[in-house]
């Protein structure tokens, strides 16, 4: 099965100079956790997720994961997000972005998603963004089969 047959046909994305504040608005309104970052030709140049933002704005990020509670760092998170709200997302995004071609198969996509511990994988055609694939889409297709 080709990825283009099961991917989410949505190319919601952001430019690298988009401000953090605006990016959070996009994620919130679309109810998604991350989006591809593209250039003016719609070529994928990065990926940014809520996880990347929190990791970057909270110095004690790893400590929080291990402690299991965010309460002690919550005030710091708010303060830090405000301070960084006007910074461009290129400061936070993953630059070595993992993508998959629309003609690749679902096994490769699942492999990339699992191995890299990512939730959303940009799908491209000639470098340009044409969709998104998630593990949920792949699992849903496997169940139907």
């Amino acid at each position: 099965m080709k990825i283009k047959d099961i991917m989410i046909r949505d190319v919601t994305s952001a430019l690298a100079d988009c401000k953090l504040y605006n990016l959070l608005e996009i994620l919130s309104r679309h109810k998604i956790t991350g989006i591809p970052v593209v250039n003016q030709e719609q070529e994928v140049i990065g990926f940014i997720s809520q996880h990347d933002i929190i990791k970057d704005t909270l110095p004690n990020y790893l400590g929080i994961i291990n402690s299991g509670s965010i309460l002690s760092e919550f005030i710091q998170l708010g303060k830090s997000l405000k301070e960084n709200s006007n910074r461009p997302i290129k400061d936070f995004m993953k630059k070595n972005v993992i993508t998959v071609d629309e003609n690749d198969n679902e096994v490769l996509a699942a492999d990339l998603l699992i191995r890299n511990k990512i939730q959303r994988l940009p799908v491209i055609r000639n470098k340009k963004l044409v969709g998104i694939i998630t593990l949920t889409d792949i699992c849903r297709t496997l169940i139907k089969e």
Binding site: R9, D10, Q40, E41
Partner: protein, 310 residues
């Protein structure tokens, strides 16, 4: 890729009623929800023709998410900008006994300057993947009247053909940027630049005026399933000879879709593009509710389309 812009989309609610009685209780036999708005209708017809399409514009609220989900199910790629407020809904009452469709259209939500900046940014990027773009329908409150003109300019600068299908000031301002094709939306008023579209001669004059104001090709619909196509040098009269029309809502959008599809298929002549666009319009008009769903349906309608160069 064929892109479509819908700045004021709507969730279409179709209520089927056996025999509509005004000022009385009416039982709804069937209620259905469909993504609506002229550009979205174009995308649906393009997809029915088996071609790839991307729909952009404004969406908002739960209604917006329903539209996005439904479009993706149809295989239409989406890249909408989500605004803060929910989008409008259109209610279509289908009186089955009298075969009448009554459309009640809400005004859309207000958009902000930031929303406009973002939609133009999305539009610019999407043009890098497009061959042709259709700019259709009304604009929501807060949108400047030259929005389509700006989009035509961007599209042309990126080597993309633009089709304009709207009304009022946004139509006349759009013409100034010389779109590839322009079709006035006559739902609210049947006048184009002061010409009342009530007979063939007037439709011809209006079509000529649209070309004189900047469009490379113009289309003016008059009566049921009759259209005038014009360029600087030629005029065509096109009509459907099939008289069992079920639903004219969306037929004009299917015509635009058909023209866009034809125009991106290599060396097709203008005569062929006109014939195919009329076939798509008829295929849509023969469907009771939703858009037609296969190219075969449009191709089967070709035998009912007659075109004549005047």
């Amino acid at each position: 890729m064929i892109s479509t812009v819908t700045l004021n989309p709507a969730l279409d609610v179709i209520l089927e009623i056996g025999d509509l009685h005004l000022n009385q209780y009416n039982q709804v036999n069937n209620a259905s929800l469909y993504p609506g708005g002229k550009g979205i209708n174009v995308s649906k017809a393009v997809r029915a023709c088996g071609r790839e399409t991307i729909a952009i514009g404004f969406l908002g609220g739960g209604r917006g998410r329903i539209i996005e989900e439904e479009l993706r199910k149809l295989g239409i790629t989406t890249n909408f900008w989500h605004i803060e407020n929910k989008i409008r809904s259109n209610t279509i009452i289908f009186d089955k006994k009298n075969n009448q469709h009554t459309l009640m259209s809400e005004t859309g939500p207000k958009v902000t300057e930031y929303d406009l900046e973002m939609i133009l940014s999305i539009f610019y990027r999407i043009m890098s993947q497009s061959k042709i773009v259709t700019l259709s329908g009304s604009i929501p409150p807060g949108t400047p009247k030259d929005i389509y003109a700006k989009m035509i300019e961007i599209a042309k600068n990126r080597g993309v053909k633009a089709i304009l299908n709207t009304s009022g000031e946004q139509f006349s301002k759009g013409l100034e940027k010389q779109p590839f094709l322009a079709k006035p939306d006559l739902r609210k008023s049947n006048k184009v630049f002061g010409i009342e579209i009530n007979k063939k001669e007037n439709a011809i004059n209006a079509a000529k005026e649209i070309v004189a104001r900047g469009a490379e090709i113009s289309v003016v619909s008059f009566e049921q399933e009759k259209d005038i196509f014009a360029t600087k040098d030629n005029i065509w009269f096109a009509e459907s000879t099939h008289h069992r029309i079920l639903n004219l809502i969306g037929a004009g959008d299917a015509l635009v879709a058909g023209f866009a599809v034809s125009s991106t298929e290599g060396d097709k002549s203008l005569d062929e593009a006109i014939k195919f666009s009329m076939s798509c319009a008829l295929a849509s008009a023969l469907c009771e509710e939703e858009e037609f769903d296969s190219r075969k349906q449009a191709d089967e309608c070709r035998k009912y389309v007659k075109i004549k160069r005047l």
